[in-house]
């Protein structure tokens, strides 16, 4: 059984095809990166998988089940968590309340949700901020909180959208370390990122897209030397 598969998906906004005829497979336990220039459709792919937008055409399968027909909130219940590129903290809730809101997906007990949230907060290194209100947190911590909240829903597949954007090199390193530790928990990861250093370092396989279509898939070093990828980023002169 294929763990996660996207088959010929297309998304049109009016006349513009943001994603066209894109297919890829993700294996259990890997870190799968998606790269592409600005506006190439990376976030749209996430929004399509998490059902924030309906597909124009195509199919998406997770653990053998078709998921592009279920309501948006069911996606998370089935085991796919996500974070947002523009972070969406629950602003007037404390860090632990944010994470508890995620933990309540698998339990109705306050005690169990709190316990779970405490464990996740420690895992993400946020324990110093447990009772701080989310709206007062700086960006790196908000990004971490976003991951913690998604982790609390106990996903089997986690989609990370630009987790390192806006972070300084040291913060990025911590974020990369966190992503590796999440994978070690047995969670498969799809990651979208702009910073090539990050992507080359942690991805097992990378999909490069431009104008919503695949230009290459493969190991990081194959992608880095792929003429189409270089063309998409740097222009014809360098290819």
């Amino acid at each position: 059984m294929i763990f996660f598969e996207v088959k010929n998906i297309t998304k049109k906004f009016g006349g513009l095809a943001a994603v066209s005829n894109l297919s890829f497979k993700v294996e259990e336990g890997e870190i799968f990166g998606i790269i592409g220039p600005n506006g190439s459709g990376k976030t749209t792919v996430f929004n399509l998988i998490s059902r924030f937008f309906p597909l124009t055409s195509g199919e998406i399968y997770f653990k053998g089940k078709r998921i592009d027909t279920v309501p948006a909130h069911k996606i998370c219940e089935m085991g796919i968590g996500r974070t947002f590129q523009v972070v969406k903290p629950l602003r007037r809730m404390s860090v632990i309340e944010n994470v508890m809101a995620g933990a309540f997906l698998r339990t109705s007990s306050m005690g169990k949700a709190r316990h779970k949230a405490e464990e996740i907060i420690e895992f993400c290194g946020l324990e110093r901020y447990t009772h701080r209100e989310a709206k007062g947190l700086p960006i790196p911590l908000r990004k971490r909180l976003e991951i913690a909240r998604a982790l609390a829903t106990e996903p089997a597949l986690l989609m990370l959208d630009e987790t390192c954007a806006g972070l300084n090199p040291k913060e990025s390193e911590q974020a990369i370390d966190l992503i590796r530790r999440i994978r070690d928990r047995g969670i498969t990861i799809i990651i979208v990122e702009h910073i090539m250093k990050v992507m080359m370092g942690i991805s097992d396989r990378i999909l490069a897209i431009n104008f919503g279509s695949e230009i290459a898939t493969g190991k990081p070093e194959e992608i880095a030397n792929h003429p189409e990828v270089i063309k998409a980023y740097l222009g014809d002169a360098y290819a």
């Binding site: 924030f52 998370c76 968590g81 969406k88 629950l90 602003r91 309340e97 809101a101």
Partner: protein, 317 residues
Amino acid sequence: MKTKNIIYTAIFVVITAALPLFIKAPYQLHMLILVMMWAVIGTAWNLLGGYAGQVSFGHAAFFGLGAYTAGFMIFHFGISPWWGMLLGPIVATIISIPIGLICFRLRGPYFALAMLALGEIFRLLFINMVSITNGAKGILIMPAITSKVFYYYVGLAMLLLTVLITYLIVHSKIGYYLVSIREDQDAATSLGIPTTLYKLLALLPSAFFTGLAGAFYTNYVAFIDPHIVFNLSNISVMVILVVMLGGVATTWGPTVGALIYIFLGEIFRTTLGSANVLVFGVLVCLIIMFLPNGIVGELDLIKRICTRKKESLSGGV
């Protein structure tokens, strides 16, 4: 923390339960009864508008439905309007289901406007369906009980029930989900929260208790017409102002707001006539500017300001 809350609540219950022993004048009791009724409406609105963040401009619809259900008891069936206290909230709750399913497709200001329109639709319906509702002539009932003390205790029981149920909802998984939806609906969806279902779970009790207050109104005031009980400015909008004054998304905020609204109204009615609402409006504006979370919501800030003043005084000496 929890035991502290229980102690405060116990003190509140004892004091309010003992009040009629000291306050005997019908006029003062009348005002307290109105405070209780408004506190119930405010607390009910707060669950949907404050915690779930779905600002409704149409709660008069539920108030009116509760009131008219009680009125119909005597008008159509010739039985005691007190049965309306049981049926009114149920009718309001049942009718809130299709309303919710339609309006919850909309977000923010669009939801508020849709609710506003719905409230007005009910008012016009009840004015024009003369054969059923007696139109603008309204329904007059002969109250069997005239003792203010009795209504005081009914009002108090209603308030305590409303606050208790709301408290239990807010301090459970549902409460966390409602606040998540208020803070960010997309993030809530990404956490697997079925947003429409949970908004409905906030609307149902909200409509129920607003309907209860409406049925109580019919029994207490003994006269209703559509312009009174489905009123946009005096009910739908007023409840929002009452809650904002007292404190949005706080347990006792609506009660504090109701207390200030009723007493302020009485104080200025004698001197300013119908302009008394103006004073209340100005007060709400000031509260929004300086205490955006309302009086109960900014208690810490108020405390801090008070203690700072004391400190600077003692420092000067």
